[in-house]
């Protein structure tokens, strides 16, 4: 059975269909790339999956359970992680505190236990801190644990954000342009990191990405969106040679060039 099923999802903003009957199935342990020109609906698809937007039609299921209609926090608690196109670290916290937030759904300390600093609260806290440090080490950011999140470079913020999502042990993580703004050799590092995440943690990854080289290299399958519709899906080689995909990218580029001149 597929892990994530997107079943004919349509989502309109005003009159415009940002997603138009999009359907796809993502298997357990897969790395799925999602590509498409600007404004083609990639972010909207992720937002529909993680509950930020509610589809006008269609349904989304994770592990057979319907997600459509649940709040984002409820969907997160069912094992769906998400990072965003712009960095969303909590700026008023240190890197380590950000990481511990990723364990929020794995911890249970209540108001009284926390306020009275009961033994159970202290034990849980100590355990979360240790796990957070280990998770930072996993992505090579251990040395930055006690820095303010706002002091990190752009690329470091992306990495910590991914680690913060992973620490909650989600089944699947949606990454929205994680490599944007990274230098080329950083992209290669990043490629390795994503593979390690899949191989060592067994996490399914959905990757929206503009750095085509990265997507082609790392994805098992790729879904191509254009104007809210799925125009192609398949192995990287198949997608690369698909005439409709070429037209969607090149056509747009040609039009842009014509408009510019």
């Amino acid at each position: 059975m597929s892990l994530l099923v997107v079943d004919n999802v349509t989502l309109r903003f005003g009159g415009v269909a940002a997603l138009d009957g999009v359907a796809t199935e993502i298997g357990r342990g897969e790395i799925r790339g999602i590509i498409g020109p600007n404004g083609s609906g990639k972010t909207t698809l992720l937002n529909a999956i993680c509950g930020i937007h509610r589809p006008d039609a269609g349904e989304i299921r994770l592990d057979g359970e319907k997600l459509t209609g649940l709040k984002p926090s409820e969907i997160a608690r069912r094992g769906l992680g998400r990072t965003f196109q712009t960095s969303q670290l909590f700026r008023g916290m240190t890197v380590l505190e950000n990481m511990i937030c990723g364990l929020h759904r794995r911890t249970t300390t209540g108001l009284l236990a926390a306020g009275l600093r009961l033994r159970s609260a202290r034990a849980e806290e100590a355990e979360t801190v240790e796990r957070a440090r280990a998770a930072l080490d996993f992505v090579g950011m251990g040395a930055f644990a006690d820095r303010p999140a706002s002091a990190l470079s752009f690329g470091q913020q992306r990495v910590v954000e991914i680690a913060r999502t992973l620490i909650g042990e989600p089944k699947i993580v949606l990454l929205d342009e994680p490599a944007v703004g990274l230098s080329l050799n950083r992209v290669a590092e990043f490629d390795a990191l994503l593979r390690r995440i899949r191989d060592e943690k067994g996490v399914t990854l959905v990757l929206v990405e503009h750095v085509i080289r990265l997507v082609m290299e790392i994805s098992d399958r790729i879904t191509v969106l254009n104007s809210g519709r799925k125009i192609a899906e398949g192995k990287p080689v198949e997608v690369r040679n698909n005439p409709e995909v070429i037209e969607a990218y090149l056509g747009k580029e040609l039009r842009a060039r014509r408009a510019a001149s």
């Binding site: 926090s73 608690r77 969303q88 909590f90 600093r117 202290r122």
Partner: protein, 334 residues
């Protein structure tokens, strides 16, 4: 641990507070009690505004609801103070919960306006529901008695306020350094990201509002007993500005800052008491100066320049680790 760490400084202040009733006069006792009441207000408001980032203006109203409930239950139903006082806190907590409902849908300016409207409506009820509230003139509350304890009322009230201020400040510190405090800050710094990590916005906003309602309700009950009198103007917009000024001057998102802010503003309040009308202007100006020039409040200066004033959003690690170890013999390699 540095000599002038937060812990040491506050312990010295606490020691001073414990002997003050034998050193000072009735006036210092009054101001001391007032200070503890404002500490409660500032700490509670800071949890909501500074930590959870909810720009709410209902704190003075919840303060008033605590005072009115405590006072009216004594006067109208002849409950003893020690029964009426907890009721006041509970009612203010519930009101806080109710205000949190629109807060889930509103943010920023809209939340500010809605809570401001709520505060004005509360004023209106205090003023015009005369059959219950005695209207604009307010009402006297009975002098509370600490019998069988051998203390006079002002001293007893002083120590009761001190005890509650200390306990509830410690409680707030602990909550701030827990997953709950971090959930508050996460919501403040990014609602969407917080939700994506499984943090339930409704739950934690409601909790922040309820906690600030509780702290304000406790403060209100003590205030009614301190003044022996409850009237609408004690809980008006000026009172709201005062609370806001405390947390902004002391430091948003810092329990320590709430203490600093309460101390400084109560001092100013008393220093300017002779000059009616100057208080509003002074506090407004102070608020503005800090918002523009010192966003982090006074506590940020301390954190930058003195050691031992940090306020991490988690428990101090070494102690926490030691506690986790005993009994868990299964840790590999140890």
């Amino acid at each position: 641990m540095p000599v002038f760490s937060r812990r040491n400084v506050l312990l010295v202040l606490l020691a001073g507070a414990l002997i003050l009733p034998w050193m000072g006069n009735p006036y210092t006792l009054f101001v001391g009690t007032l200070l503890f009441i404002y500490v409660l207000l500032a700490v509670g408001l800071n949890l909501l505004v500074g930590y959870a980032g909810q720009l709410a203006f209902a704190n003075a109203a919840m303060f008033g609801i605590g005072a009115y409930t405590t006072g009216l239950l004594q006067v109208r139903l002849e409950l003893p103070f020690f029964a009426a006082f907890p009721c006041g806190a509970v009612v203010a907590t519930l009101v806080g919960l109710v205000i949190s409902l629109p807060a889930l849908r509103l943010s920023g300016l809209y939340l500010a306006l809605t809570t401001l409207a709520f505060a004005q409506a509360t004023q209106w009820v205090f003023l015009h529901w005369e059959n219950v509230t005695f209207g604009a003139g307010g009402f006297k509350t009975p002098l509370i008695s600490f019998a069988p304890l051998p203390v006079e009322t002002p001293t007893g009230l002083y120590f009761l306020s001190l005890l509650l201020a200390v306990l509830l400040t410690l409680f707030a510190w602990n909550v701030a350094a827990s997953r709950i405090g971090r959930a508050f800050v996460a919501i403040r710094d990014g609602e969407v990201a917080a939700e994506s990590l499984g943090i339930d916005l409704l739950r934690y906003k409601a909790l922040a509002f309820a906690m600030s309602g509780f702290y304000a309700g406790v403060a209100g009950g003590l205030y009614s007993a301190l003044l022996n009198f409850v009237a609408p103007e004690g809980f008006d917009l000026f009172q709201m500005v005062l609370h806001k000024a405390m947390i902004v001057v002391g430091g948003l998102g810092s329990v320590t800052g709430s203490l600093l802010g309460a101390g400084i503003l109560v001092f100013l309040l008393e220093a300017l008491r002779a000059f009616k009308g100057t208080q509003e202007i002074a506090f407004g100006a102070l608020l503005l100066v800090f918002v523009i020039f010192l966003r982090g409040g006074l506590v940020s200066v301390l954190k930058r320049n003195a050691r031992g004033w940090e306020e991490p959003l988690r428990l101090p690690e070494r102690r926490a680790r030691l506690l986790a170890r005993p009994g868990t013999a299964s840790v590999p390699g140890e």
